[in-house]
């Protein structure tokens, strides 16, 4: 470190990358972990809240059930409005310092980070899930009810999977927002990528160079995850074509199979390779 420091932009960037890669990567790893855990837990919260908020109430239901649902929905509405309606940076300090001063709880860095990002994402996801459920054709619910499914079964097997598929773009949005916005957690001392970049920048007063590295790392993370989510989407959609299932042996050789109990893949191969068609054994 006794050698003279580089003076031009690119050389400084290279210097930071070579000398501080561990610090940047640890920061990026923390950012990613916070974003992933926060988005995942936030989605769970969002699904729970969204499902409760769309429970249908009819005048047929007992007064106790209706009153209970009213209170629960009211509390959930307040939660959604408060956490959507205030900045995460303020929430972070409010919760962290409030817990410390008045509850005597000093949150660990990780707990505070996961908690704040999760509860924030949950508020957004609740609305997304609610919208996702409402966007499913009511005919799907009626079809499920008509074969005797309960409300819970209908949600679990029919509505939930279709909702999930429809809101993946929004989950992706939230993940990307969380990768970026977890940077505000630096105000309560969470050491993530922005915090790491800031520390490095402060050591040399190379703000532009340090932030260049941070920019590139953020962009790599958000880009990779947006592509991964696209891939997940296309996987959930399944193949665009389907195989006709048939017992016709001539059709088997042309690649159609999977008729239950009839043409398994192995059986098909036997027909092709065995000149007797497997019949003379």
């Amino acid at each position: 470190m006794s050698s003279t420091l580089p003076t031009d932009y690119w050389a400084r960037v290279v210097y930071l990358v070579t000398h501080y890669s561990a610090s940047f990567l640890r920061g990026a790893g923390s950012t990613l972990l916070i974003a992933l855990v926060g988005t995942f837990v936030g989605c769970l919260i969002g699904f729970a809240v969204g499902i409760v908020q769309t429970i249908p109430v009819s005048k047929q239901d007992s007064i106790i059930k209706r009153a209970l649902l009213f209170i629960v929905k009211l509390i959930l509405n307040i939660y959604v409005e408060v956490f959507r309606g205030t900045p995460m940076i303020v929430q972070a300090m409010f919760i962290y310092f409030g817990a410390m001063q008045y509850l005597g709880i000093t949150m660990g860095m990780w707990f505070a980070a996961f908690f704040i990002v999760s509860i924030n994402t949950g508020a957004y996801m609740a609305e997304t899930v609610r919208g996702g459920i409402l966007s499913i054709d009511p005919g799907q619910t009626e079809g499920a009810k008509a074969i005797g499914m309960t409300h819970f079964q209908t949600m679990l097997y029919v509505i939930f999977p279709q909702t999930l598929r429809n809101i993946i773009p929004q989950i992706g949005n939230n993940l990307i927002i969380n990768i970026k916005d977890s940077s505000v957690l630096s105000v309560i001392g969470v050491i993530e990528l922005y915090y790491a970049a800031k520390q490095t920048a402060g050591a040399y007063y190379w703000w532009f160079e340090a932030m260049t590295v941070a920019m590139v790392l953020y962009l790599i993370m958000t880009f990779v995850f947006s592509r991964l989510l696209r891939f997940w989407e296309s996987k959930l959609d399944g193949p665009a074509s389907f195989d006709l299932a048939t017992t016709d042996q001539l059709a088997h050789t042309s690649g159609n199979y999977s008729y239950p109990g009839e043409g398994s893949f192995d059986k098909e191969r036997n027909i092709e390779t065995d000149v007797n068609g497997g019949r003379d054994k």
Binding site: G139, A146, Y157, Q162, F242, P260
Partner: protein, 247 residues
């Protein structure tokens, strides 16, 4: 009285706000009956069917299934619906499942059949409607007529005691109507109890053994197909049928 009836609708009324859609409907379905409900759009035919299946809650009156009222709050609507199949105008197949899964899910989750048995039954009924080659397809990959045949197989796989059809061919292209009616005709011949809301007059006349004509939320006339089609008594029935013949 009427202990042998599967389904009795008694003084059934349904209003949406101030709009009375059904007014004091009464009729009985016996095992093996194929009842067609005909009438203009907006006459309350579909609402009647939805009330029978409890997809709509009747405002007053009663629906009696095997002698027991089902409109009471304490009745388990889901368990009742499992015994009463329903085929919708818009198919309502589960979009997230393949054809085979559509026909299995109700059996395993509602009737608690094991996977093997459910698959066997699903294949049996899909074969009956001629959709067995398409078990791996998703609903979006099928034509309207194919979807409706799968929907019928899905309902049949629950082995219901009565099957309700809510204008099953109204959303189909003319060339697809035939394949669905063919399946329904087959079911009728096998003695399935069916209650069919339809605009297919030929089906009502040739396949059903009882025809109900509805207008403005009331039953104007009911009787055997020959009574209704050849010798209608009510002026509105005559009018309605004349308009159909004119087409």
């Amino acid at each position: 009285m009427n202990r042998d009836a599967i389904l009795e609708v008694k003084h059934l009324s349904k209003s949406f706000g101030a709009n009375a859609v059904l007014k004091d409907i009464d009729f009985v379905v016996h095992p093996g009956d194929v009842t067609s409900i005909i009438g203009s759009s907006g006459s309350g035919k579909s609402t009647l069917l939805r009330c029978i299946n409890l997809l709509e809650t009747p405002t007053s009156g009663d629906v009696v299934f095997h002698g027991d009222s089902v409109v009471d709050k304490k009745v388990n609507a889901a368990a009742y619906r499992a015994k009463v199949g329903m085929v919708f105008q818009s198919f309502n197949l589960f979009n997230n499942m393949s054809v085979l899964e559509n026909c299995i899910i109700g059996q395993t989750k509602v009737l608690k059949r094991n996977k093997e048995e459910a698959k066997e039954k699903a294949m049996q009924y899909l074969t009956k409607v001629g959709m067995n080659p398409y078990i791996n397809a998703k609903p979006r990959q099928l034509s309207g007529g194919q979807k409706q045949r799968v929907a019928i197989a899905r309902a049949l796989a629950m082995e219901p005691e009565i099957l309700l059809f809510d204008e099953p061919t109204s959303a189909l292209d003319p060339e697809m109507v035939g394949e669905v009616l063919e399946v329904m005709r087959g079911l009728a011949n096998e003695g399935m109890t069916m209650l069919v809301v339809t605009h297919e007059m030929a089906f009502a006349r040739d396949v059903s053994n009882h025809v109900v004509y509805m207008a403005d939320g009331v039953i104007c006339e009911e009787g055997s197909p020959s009574d209704i089609f050849e010798n209608p008594q009510n002026a509105r029935t005559k009018d309605f049928l004349a308009r159909f013949r004119a087409k």
